[in-house]
C-alpha cells in the first residue's frame, strides 16, 4: 500500500502524462500497420493480394481498360499479408490510423488504385505490362533487350523470343 501511495504522490507532483490527442499531436510508431497505399504505376494487377487477404477486403475488378484495385477498410484486419505477398512491392501499409467513419461513409471508406492497360506496339492488344521492380526480382542483370521485350504483349513476346532464337 505504501508503494501505491508513493507512486500516487509522485504522479501528483509530476503532473499528468496524458496524450493531448484529439486536441494535439500524438506519437505514432513507424511500423504501425494502418491504411494501405497502392502504387498504381508498379502494380501489375496479378491478384495475389486479393487471393491472400483473409478478410476479403481487397477486390480487383476490370472496368473497360482499367483494373480497379479497391480496399474496403471496414472489413480489413490490417494483418499486412498483402504487403508481405505482393510480388512487386506496390502495396505498402502506412502508419495512418484514422479509421473512424460514420454511417454515411461506411461503404465509401476505401482506397482505390486504377491500373490501366497498355497497348502492344506490334499487334495493338491491350495488356498490363510487367513492371521494373518485378523484372529486377527475376533477372540479375537487366539490359535494354529485356526492357524492350517488357513493352510487348505476351503473344508478341513469345514470337520475338523465338525469332531471336532462330536468327
Amino acid at each position: 500500500m505504501s508503494g501505491f501511495l508513493k507512486i500516487a504522490i509522485r504522479n501528483l507532483l509530476k503532473g499528468p502524462v496524458t496524450d493531448p490527442y484529439p486536441f494535439g499531436k500524438t506519437f505514432i510508431p513507424e511500423k504501425l500497420r494502418g491504411k494501405l497505399k497502392v502504387d498504381a504505376s508498379i502494380c501489375t494487377a496479378c491478384g495475389t493480394c486479393q487471393e491472400v487477404c483473409p478478410s476479403g477486403a481487397i477486390y480487383i475488378k476490370k472496368e473497360n481498360d482499367v483494373y480497379v484495385h479497391t480496399t474496403w477498410y471496414n472489413t480489413c484486419c490490417f494483418c499486412g499479408n498483402c504487403e508481405f505477398f505482393c510480388p512487386t512491392g506496390a502495396i505498402k501499409l502506412t502508419n495512418d490510423f484514422h479509421t473512424a467513419n460514420t454511417k454515411e461513409e461506411k461503404f465509401k471508406f476505401v482506397t482505390i488504385a486504377a491500373i490501366s492497360e497498355k497497348e502492344c506496339p506490334v499487334c495493338g492488344n491491350k495488356f498490363v505490362p510487367a513492371t521494373l521492380p518485378l523484372i529486377e526480382k527475376s533477372y540479375p542483370h537487366i539490359n535494354d533487350e529485356i526492357k524492350n521485350l517488357m513493352k510487348l504483349c505476351p503473344e508478341c513476346r513469345k514470337k520475338a523470343a523465338f525469332e531471336r532464337l532462330y536468327q
Binding site: N11, P16, V17, T18, D19, Y21, P22, T26, L32, P54, S55, G56, W72, Y73, N74, T75, C76, C77, F78, C79, F97, H98, T99, A100, N101, T102, K103, K106, F109
Partner: protein
C-alpha cells in the same frame, strides 16, 4: 443545451470478441496516456445509464439475444459505435455458421471504428464523432 453533450456515459458490450478490442477500450479508459475522462466520458455498469454504446466482437449466435436485450434497454437518445472490424462487417469471421452479425442487422450503427484492434486514438476519434451525432440527435428530438 450543447453543454450536456460534454457528459457522455459509455457502456461497452462484448459480443464474442477476442478481447483485443476490449483491452483497447480499457486502455482508453484507464491508462493515464489516453484518458477519456477529460472529455467527460464515464464508463457505466448498466446500459440504462449509457449515452454511447460501444460494441466489440462479431455477434456470435450465443451472444445475440443478450445484445438485443441491451439495445432495448438504452434510453433515447443514444449513439451506437462499432469498435473493431468484427461488429462493423464481421471481418475474417464473415459467413461463419456461428456468426449472426454484422451489427447493422439489429440497430442503426452511427460510427464504425475498424481495426484489429483499432488504435486507442482511433477509438477516441470515434467517440468524438459519436458526440457530434449525439448532439444532432438531441436537437432533432426537441
Amino acid at each position: 443545451m450543447s453543454i450536456i453533450t460534454r457528459s457522455p456515459f459509455l457502456f461497452r458490450i462484448n459480443t464474442g470478441s477476442c478481447n483485443g478490442c476490449d483491452v483497447e477500450l480499457a486502455t482508453t479508459a484507464m491508462i493515464p496516456r489516453y484518458d477519456v475522462e477529460r472529455l467527460g466520458c464515464r464508463y457505466t455498469g448498466s446500459p440504462k445509464h449509457a449515452d454511447i454504446l460501444l460494441v466489440t466482437g462479431p455477434i456470435t449466435a450465443r451472444s445475440k439475444s443478450y445484445l438485443v436485450e441491451v439495445l432495448d434497454e438504452l434510453p433515447n437518445p443514444f449513439v451506437v459505435v462499432a469498435v473493431g472490424t468484427c461488429p462493423t462487417s464481421c471481418g475474417i469471421f464473415r459467413d461463419s455458421y456461428a456468426i449472426e452479425g454484422p451489427l447493422d442487422k439489429y440497430v442503426q450503427v452511427d460510427v464504425n471504428v475498424p481495426g484489429c484492434p483499432p488504435r486507442p486514438q482511433a477509438i477516441i476519434d470515434g467517440v468524438a464523432k459519436a458526440l457530434e451525432i449525439w448532439k444532432q440527435k438531441i436537437r432533432n428530438q426537441k
